[in-house]
Amino acid sequence: MHMIEAIIKPAALDKVKQSLTDLGVLGCTALECKGFGKQKGHTERYRGARLDVGFVPKILLKIAVRSEDLDKAIAAVQSAAQTGNVGDGKMFVYQLDKVVRIRTGETDNEAL
């Protein structure tokens, strides 16, 4: 099993969720986060002085998938989240050692 961590633009969330659902992936977890990268932040001004704000709001989406679904899921996220502009984000893939569904105690692929 693998965990995909996709850092995406907030506006892309609905589309990404939809395309995952279409694929049959029925769960994911989203976190608000702030990204720093090629896409630059802004400079605000407050009472005459400058305030550099380097971080841009992003959403970090965690999607656990069976290994056989990994490539499809990656492709689905990419096509849904891509706008072609700087700041579209990245995906990071980790190996999962174990998955447990707390409610039932099922593990690994059954838990997904």
Binding site: K34, G41, R47, G48, V53, P57
Partner: protein, 490 residues
């Protein structure tokens, strides 16, 4: 203008005794009984005893009306001044919301607590000694520098104190006190904003008590109590100097003694802005202040005279409007984008500016005074940042700088314009400023020497809400520690 008739000293002493008994009783009582089940009952007993020890007061002031003013006119005059006092009260809510809106959410409980206590302490101290210092009747030696008519209130039970005789049918003794007491507390509130986010709670409350109880009244008596500045010809209609600059000088001393907030000025000399946490709250504050100012200036006519009151309301509003617009345009030009916090400061600047001469100005002059104040305030905020005096809400620029401007403006525009008037105004500005500087310097200096003025760096970083109050202002919401460019749905 001898407003406070001599009081029967016996009765006054009784009031005072009750007051101090109670205050001490309260503290001791609540400490002792803190863990006891019967505490609530006991405290009530204590109070009941204290009360029982004191005879009851007669009221029912005799009503020997003068025939110059009709009873109807007296009633309406009094009503307006009393209502104006209510409007000035709402300014305290304005200050509380403005100051908490322009500071960080980790210090919000502390600011709200301070501003709430300022009203409470201010009213009590003004009743205990302030009123009789500010309107002493006779000055010591007749010099017009200092006088004191004794502790406590009481004139309310005297012959004539609540009749037409008291003040030519303009207001009663109680209305006089009520209106003046609401004014007094504003001076301390101004200081509160400038020293916010780093001053310890207890020393600030001590400063408040002394400032409202003593300093404000001594300088106030020079003019409004009929003292030497009044004789000289100094003019300050509703307190550009007597209230606002006085508060502003206190704010200046406090801000200097405390030093800037951690992180405000970087080591490379640049200014690191610390944005206020809730701009709607700040806007509510400014508009409530404007609303309250109708009472502050309008009530200072000290009667409901149709022509004067209505002129004052118009000059006040036009100066505020001009100040807000001018500050907005100025910040727009200077910072390329219009700064809401500056526009808000501009409105207040216009209001402070017109306060000294609100009854003396034609409308065009009110607009000019307000607009100039609006421009001044923006550059003044920049100036104080450049010399690294950290004033979180801009209180020094608004109240001190524009208070001086407004006081001078009385000599430049309007019915009193003239070089000699400018001279009188300068004497007033300087003398009142000097006294307040020294007074505030001593009080803050002693507190600082006692090592009790500023919270520890650790507490400042954590926030005073936790350090001083162990409470959180918005516990349901997640704070952010990452400075971020917040885009809507990007």
């Amino acid at each position: 203008m001898l407003r406070t008739p001599r009081l029967d000293s016996h009765r006054r002493m009784r009031w005072m005794a009750a007051f101090f008994c109670l205050a001490t009783g309260l503290m001791i009582g609540s400490i002792c009984f803190a863990d006891s089940h019967e505490a609530a009952e006991s405290a009530a007993d204590v109070a009941a005893e204290a009360a029982g020890a004191v005879a009851q007061a007669e009221e029912g002031a005799a009503e020997d009306a003068q025939d110059t003013v009709s009873d109807e006119m007296f009633t309406i005059n009094n009503l307006w001044v009393a209502l104006a006092g209510c409007l000035v009260f709402i300014m305290h809510l304005g200050f509380a919301t403005l100051e908490s809106g322009l500071t960080r959410s980790k210090n919000t409980v502390n600011i709200l607590f301070k501003n709430t206590m300022i009203i409470c302490i201010g009213l009590l101290m003004y009743g205990l000694l302030g009123f009789n210092l500010m309107y002493p009747g006779d000055f010591i030696g007749g010099h017009g520098y200092l006088g004191f008519a004794g502790f406590g209130l009481g004139g309310g039970y005297e012959q004539g104190a609540n009749t037409i005789a008291y003040a030519n049918g303009n207001y009663t003794y109680w209305t006089d006190f009520f209106f003046q007491a609401m004014f007094a507390a504003t001076a301390a509130t101004i200081v509160s904003g400038a020293v916010a986010e780093r001053i310890k709670l207890m020393p600030f409350l001590i400063f408040t008590a002394l400032f409202v109880g003593i300093s404000y009244n001594v300088t106030g008596s020079w003019k409004w109590g009929g003292g030497w500045l009044d004789s000289l010809g100094f003019y300050d209609f509703a307190g550009s100097t007597i209230v606002h600059s006085v508060g502003g000088w206190g704010a200046l001393v406090g801000a200097i003694m405390l030093g800037p907030r951690i992180g405000k000025y970087a080591s490379d000399g640049s200014t690191n802005p610390i944005p206020g946490h809730n701009l709607p709250l700040a806007t509510v504050g400014v508009l409530l202040l404007w609303f309250g100012w109708f009472g502050f200036n309008g009530g200072s006519v000290l009667s409901a005279d149709a022509a004067s009151v209505s002129l004052v309301l118009v000059t006040t509003s036009m100066a505020a409007a001009a100040g807000g617009l001018a500050a907005a345009l100025t910040s727009w030009c200077v910072s390329k984008k219009p700064d809401l916090s500056m526009a808000l400061n501009g409105i207040l600047a216009g209001l402070v500016g017109i306060t000294a001469g609100a009854d003396q100005m034609p409308v065009w002059a009110a607009v000019v005074i307000g607009a100039v104040a609006g421009v001044i305030v923006v550059f003044s905020v920049f100036f104080f940042d450049r010399i690294k005096i950290d004033d979180p809400v801009g209180a020094i620029s608004v109240h001190l700088v524009c208070g001086i401007w407004g006081t001078l403006a009385v000599g430049i525009f309007g019915a009193k314009a003239g070089m000699s008037q400018v001279g009188y105004q300068l004497v007033g500005i300087v003398s009142i400023g000097a006294f307040t500087l020294i007074f505030a310097g001593i009080v803050f200096g002693v507190l600082k020497a006692a090592g009790a003025l500023r919270v520890s760096a650790a507490e400042e970083v954590e926030g005073l809400d936790l350090g001083e109050h162990n409470m959180a202002s918005y516990p349901d919401f997640q704070r952010t520690f990452i400075k971020s460019y917040e885009a809507g749905e990007m």
